[in-house]
Amino acid sequence: MAHKYKLIYFDRRGRGEVARLLFAAAGVEYEDFRFKKEEWPKYKGTTPFGQCPVLEVDGKPLTQSNAIVRHLAREFGLAGKTAWDQAQVDMILETMQDIANPISVICLCKDEEEKHALKATYEEETLPRYLEAVQKILAANKDGKGFLVGDEMTVADLSLFWTLDCIPVMVKNPTAKFPKLQEFRDRIAAVPNIAAWLEKLPKTADWDNSNVEHNP
């Protein structure tokens, strides 16, 4: 029996987007419930930990974007085929957090001098280190012409795809020195289900500081 899914999140891509990409890739129906930033206080108290996104599965709530993403990936067969593949996929999901989280920290930093220093470290050391490592993983699998893990698309690919789109708010043209990553990004965007989603997704701000305001 098909489950009833409702994804509850702000009207932006942010921490809800990989779940939405999973629904699109798997061709599964769901209610894409979006609220405006000013409406959040109304919903916050109804969530298990005062955070969003929330995925309701047959009315039962699940929070934490990566828990949601892992659950949907397992349900849709996009989590990796073996235990080891799943571990590699998990490793990539965590690494995408390590790439994206500093962006929020830098955006929220109030001290201009510290902000400048953090941004420089991110741009010159942190980000290149991660992108090089991720490109290496991609290149080791069918010379980068396939997917990150195994022979088929997994949630790792969707997460990398989305993360690459997040970075430019802080560092312009991040894949300039990583051609395999750029080619990968374009290839995922062209997958029919994904292309259809990108075409119809609401045109909202992709990233802003309030991505972190859903934490108490």
Partner: protein, 206 residues
């Protein structure tokens, strides 16, 4: 045949302890490699992402502490019995991470006044809000007298126990107002295999 496991990390509990706890509960042999901080620059480029811990399974590397914990948890029956239970376990693990993250930011804050303000907000508002959510969640399962998810110990309980210890380095007696959470922590710490590991592991600050 049992895989050959090598866990490589600093001489802290930190981000390797969850894996060590799983090995302890599962009674699985592994090499618990702890390197000195001064040796890290040499080791860093040999890791997948320039980070530790790394778990080598028959020589193949796996990075990211929670990917390592989840992999071992699944191998040894501590990850949750169904997809939905695994999702609930994941949720609790990630929530514990959210509890610890502000603590690190406070620790590294250079401005003394800002640090004091952040610490106050964390102790009086942020942390209690999370703990309240966790206690409510726990009480939804067997009245709060069992485990977070299902009827057996999972990574959720181990993460809770370990991360509470990490919070305690900065905030004394964090579970004082949450009796069910406190009881769970004690229940987990007193499980024979965990108590044995706690007794024999190297004594480090964190």
């Amino acid at each position: 045949m049992m895989p050959n496991y090598k866990l490589k990390y600093f001489n802290f509990r930190g981000r390797a302890e969850l894996a060590r706890l799983v090995f302890a509960v599962a009674e699985v042999e592994y090499e618990d490699i702890r390197f000195a901080v001064e040796d890290w620059p040499k080791i860093k480029p040999t890791t997948p992402f320039g980070q530790a811990p790394v778990l080598e399974v028959d020589g193949k590397p796996l990075a990211q502490s929670s990917a390592i914990a989840r992999y071992l948890g699944k191998e040894y029956g501590l990850a949750g019995k169904t997809n939905w239970e695994q999702a609930q376990v994941d949720m609790i693990m990630d929530t514990m991470e959210d509890i610890l993250t502000p603590m690190r930011a406070i620790h590294f804050c250079k401005d003394e006044q800002q640090k004091a303000e952040l610490q106050k907000k964390y102790q009086e508002e942020t942390l209690p809000n999370y703990l309240k959510g966790l206690e409510t969640f726990l009480c939804g399962n067997n009245g709060g007298d069992g485990y977070f998810v299902g009827s057996e110990l999972t990574l959720a309980d181990l993460t809770f126990m370990h991360y509470t210890g990490q919070v305690e380095v900065f905030v004394p007696n964090p579970l004082a107002k949450f009796p069910k959470l406190q009881a769970l922590r004690e229940r987990v710490e007193e499980l024979p295999k965990i108590a044995a590991w706690i007794a024999k592991r190297p004594k480090t600050l964190r």
